[in-house]
Symmetry: C2
């Protein structure tokens, strides 16, 4: 396969919406199966064939057939699994939903059997009198213990939903792991629409199995270079989620001298990384993505002092919540230490995906609170200003904002103006507004990264990822990502996390146990 | 690494006993760790250090430390896992036994918690009134169902032995999968010595996990050639269990034109196949291993009509009972069909490892029965010969044996002479004895393969393997393996199993469901 098809893909992508969720792209790229209309207006299509003639009922029958064949004789099940796999991909979104719902309900835990076994287990305990005391005293009453072990094994089996066997078989079937990931991606979409307990249980069980099958022991690290096949590079282009690859020159630069790209591959999903990371070898920690990707020419690798991780993308939306990045990062650091011994600093240049969303909602609630207080003040005939109101802007900051904003602002507070400005990206075009917004945005961004939490962990997902892996928050950088997306997500600010090798374990442990966010003193 | 070390290994192996069980060889070859004295005369060495200063107690502490660290923060556990791994390999056999016993007992299922959860589960059912009828009617009472799902998940977790987490962590740790296989190999040895329920439960749980981790989806098929590294080829030499590799020329021939060798590899155990298969591309199904390995020069591959599988060896005794061969065979057949389209026959030339053992015990019991009858006849003053006695030899066969055996045979029956002769391999050297033994041995061997069963399956382990994969018993071959081992195991007889592609699934299914052994009509 020549690199020509890659160039064609590039052009196609450039024309398409760059920010479409990358959820179901992979399927469309890698499969030649007809692209089903994924949104169906039929609310219950059980007995109606989809546009391509495949109905959820057909696919359900293949599923049932592949489950019903006895466990020992897997071969004949293979044909059904193949039919199921092909059929599932041809189903409409509604057909898939129906099928997964049927799987979750009709192949659930056999509760009658579980109850029966539990009663036996509880009664057995009494009749044999094997209490915990006896157990812990190391008494090895062979007969009684064997019975316990046997019953516990039976209970473990009985507590598995009946679809467990189906997942096991599908995983062993060629192409099955990929299909399971697609299945879970669909499940996550359906759960987003409606949180049904049976689908949630299906998802949670499938996730657990995927974690086992995708153990780091089963994954292979591969350095992706310009010598790799076009079909692989095409996937890198399609899946790069952080900083879209603009053209072939951009791609080539990311794989050439002074740059590295590493992917984690699973034998069952060949030619397609599950997750990949892009690294730049630099003199020092970069302050902006522009200099990494476009502005500066690469330096000789022997002069590199910093390995900068500037992008990490996972390719399977169905593997969401399965932390492969942590192990990838660890192995890449080990590899780079051997490969480029001059490197002393391992850092990231990371997006802050949740900052602007957090800030806008903070500002909005402040404005609401202020309005309520004004109402109250009117009613109670008191002056405004309350101890309950958080002061998001410092006095100086508010003053400068008011001065910089030249439109009609009668009666508007600095917070209201800021909230208004940040809802679009127009402010970036004005030097004056940028200068006025920089101090509060930088100060509040540091606070967001360092202090804001959710269930005891950093509120920002990327921050949480690096902190749990043992990094510290080192520095935030103004106008580090001036892309439309960068401005929208974080006002263009990016952050450097730093991995100090000797402190990784200590930091990770203290973050995980106490939630303490380690940051450089110069951050705040 | 040059091929020199391989030649040195060859010489070393040729000097060593060729028939030593290949159980613990791999470790000694691939690890540079000091070779611990595996047999300790200390019956209880808990507080005594082994010769290398490592005690079971130390290793147990590392194990405990690695388990006790909370699940989220795996990094610090890594150091303990590393210490555990190193330490375990340094322990004596007795130290390992002690450690595994401690693991199986102190990290067993928490029965108090299981009981408590079960009581909650059973009571919950009553109070919510969520019976099976309601469930199957598709009623989705969100609250109640969610509670069931949650409790079932908790029960599944609680029913896992506490060592489950340790196995999971070890598997994710570099080198962990290999260590788990070593651990299980040790377990199997200890269980062979004494069948303790707690160790058996540990083994059965570990086996179940290994089956999951070694799912065919995680394995990679690789064709092993003379271009592979010496370190890999060295392992092929060390692990070849069926027909030992005599020298470098023998090895090279098995990897060159007209021959194939395929291995199944797991990413976590690089450079070492878990199982490998050797194939010869021939004009027709071979009748003896001599012609495959030494006598006939290879034919041009385009003239090959038969792919003959003449050796399949698994390298990890700790993976015993985990059927990797079936998937390997399937994939190799698929690959050869594409690679060498002229091939029309897929057959094996297989040993019959259990034949002589079965025959000798049959003969011995016949002799005993005859003796008992003679005694009885004396007492009751009746003639000998009884309807209960099975006639192992036909009259003609007995006659020829009596004629051929020239030593003093007064009063000995043909069965007694046969039993005597088959206990050594001397008969092979006499043309006359060979000719006399051939008809009964061939006839009884066909019967052994075709009729003798254990729990409804073929008694011979290799036969059972190929039959469950869908092969049929095609032909048995006289003097097909004249090696010491071949004569001892099966009187030099080997068997061809044939895989008829269009019948594989059908045969496998009928064998697995009814135990019916499919054989060629000319066999019997």
């Amino acid at each position: 396969m020549s690199k020509k098809s890659l160039a064609i893909l590039m052009r196609a992508r450039m024309r398409g919406a760059p920010n479409e969720p990358h959820g179901h792209r992979p399927q469309q790229i890698s499969r030649s199966a007809p692209n089903p209309s994924r949104v169906s207006d039929r609310s219950h299509s059980s007995n109606l064939a989809d546009s391509n003639g495949i109905s959820a009922k057909d696919v359900k029958e293949w599923m049932q057939a592949s489950i019903s064949i006895p466990a020992g004789s897997r071969d004949p099940a293979d044909a059904y699994l193949e039919e199921f796999s092909q059929g599932y991909l041809m189903l409409s979104q509604e057909g898939r939903r129906e099928l997964l719902l049927a799987l979750s309900r009709d192949y659930d835990v056999n509760r009658a059997r579980v109850r029966e076994l539990m009663r036996q287990y509880l009664s057995l305990e009494l009749s044999h009198g094997a209490t915990d005391d006896q157990q812990s005293s190391g008494l090895d009453d062979d007969g009684a213990l064997s019975t316990f072990y046997r019953m516990e094994r039976n209970l473990r089996d009985a507590l598995k939903p009946m679809y467990a066997e189906f997942f096991e078989r599908l995983n062993a079937h060629p192409g099955g792991l990929k299909l399971l990931a697609i299945l879970r991606a669909d499940l996550l979409v359906f759960l987003g629409e409606e949180n049904l307990p049976s689908l949630r249980a299906l998802d949670s069980y499938l996730k657990e199995k995927l974690i086992t099958w995708l153990s780091p022991a089963a994954l292979e690290l591969h350095q992706i270079t310009w010598d790799d096949s076009a079909s692989l590079l095409e996937k890198i282009v399609a899946y790069e989620a952080v900083h879209p690859i603009r053209n072939l020159i951009d791609l080539k630069r990311r794989l050439s001298v002074g740059r590295r790209c590493f992917g984690y591959f699973h034998p069952a999903i060949p030619g397609e990384p599950l997750i990949f990371i892009e690294v730049a070898l630099l003199k020092d920690v970069a302050c902006s993505i522009q200099e990494v990707l476009w502005d500066d020419p690469p330096i000789p690798e022997c002069e590199a002092r910093c390995a900068l991780f500037y992008s990490i993308s996972s390719t399977q939306p169905g593997l969401s919540g399965i932390n492969l990045g942590k192990f990838l990062l660890k192995r890449v650091i080990d590899m780079l230490r051997k490969d480029v011994p001059s490197i002393a600093i391992f850092a990231t240049l990371s997006p802050i995906p949740g900052f602007m969303q957090w800030l806008l909602s903070k500002l909005a609630s402040q404005i609401k609170l202020a309005e309520a207080e004004t109402e109250e003040a009117k009613l109670l005939d008191m002056g405004s200003g309350s101890a309950f109101r958080e002061s998001l802007l410092l006095q100086d900051e508010e003053k400068i904002i008011l001065e910089s904003f030249t439109e009609n602002v009668t009666g508007k507070s600095g917070i209201e103006i800021m909230h208004y400005l940040l809802q679009s990206s127009e402010w970036v075009k004005s030097e004056c507004l940028s200068a006025a917004l920089k101090p509060p945005l930088m100060r509040l961004c540091a606070r967001y990264l360092h202090k804001e939490k959710k269930r005891g962990k950093a509120l920002d997902a990327v921050a949480n990822f690096h902190l749990q892996n043992g990094a510290i928050v080192e520095r935030i950088n103004w106008m580090a990502d001036q892309s439309e997306k960068g401005i929208r997500q974080s006002g263009g600010i990016m952050v450097n996390y730093v991995y100090r090798l000797e402190e990784i374990d200590k930091n990770a442990q203290s973050y995980l146990s106490t939630g303490h966010i380690h940051a450089s003193p110069r951050l705040c």
